[in-house]
Amino acid sequence: MKSAIRNTIRDLRAARSMTQQELADLIFVTRQTVIAIEGDKYSPSLEVAFRIARVFAVPLEQVFQYDPSSGRRK
């Protein structure tokens, strides 16, 4: 199921020629988790989200965007 949180990790990673495994190692998660986050199938914790933003040296809102019109509703 798709999450209501969108992200630009794939683009940010591609711009830096970084592999999923390299990013996973930098933010201390598995490569499968990076795949799930990029596919909008898993919303990471705040801590992991901040780590990702830090790796790319960009503000958090440039990495993650909240889109209430899509994804699951509670």
């Binding site: 598995t30 499968q32 799930a36 596919g39």
Partner: protein, 135 residues
């Protein structure tokens, strides 16, 4: 590079172990004869194999092998396992209250054994489904 995470490989290994124990138990039920049945040896063997497999894979992986997503999925699996255990225990109590007993000691042992197998199976399958849905 493998598409399966360390935790998924572990779950498949657990599933195989569970099937081996279940199959051995089914074989015992069909060919029931008095004497030694080596259940303890089979269960111990399966646990040892699993621990060796886990250690081998963990050493082979230089990266993170478990993270917050794995823990979240493990919690979902544990919920399912607990639910089945609770339902089974309540069913046993109902049997006891309604019939004034649980037939025999063998019946109780069989019931608990099947309950544990079922709970383990439900946990593993639920976790594997969760991994596939969020992959």
């Amino acid at each position: 590079m493998s598409r399966l995470s360390f935790q998924e490989k572990m779950l498949y290994a657990q599933l195989v172990g569970l099937l081996v124990v279940g199959a051995y138990y089914a074989h015992f039920l069909v060919h029931r004869q008095p004497g030694q049945h080596w259940f303890h040896a089979v269960i111990l063997g399966v646990i040892l194999l699993f621990v060796s497999f886990r250690t081998f894979l963990r050493r082979g992986s230089g990266s993170v092998v478990e993270d917050e997503r794995d823990r979240q999925i493990a919690a979902i699996g544990t919920q399912w396992s607990n639910l089945i255990l609770w339902i089974g225990l309540v069913a046993m109590l109902v049997m006891y209250w309604d019939h004034g007993g649980l037939h025999s000691r063998d019946f109780i042992v069989g019931l608990i054994f099947h309950l544990l197998l079922l709970a383990g199976f439900a946990r593993i399958v639920r976790e594997l489904v969760a991994y596939r849905m969020a992959a």
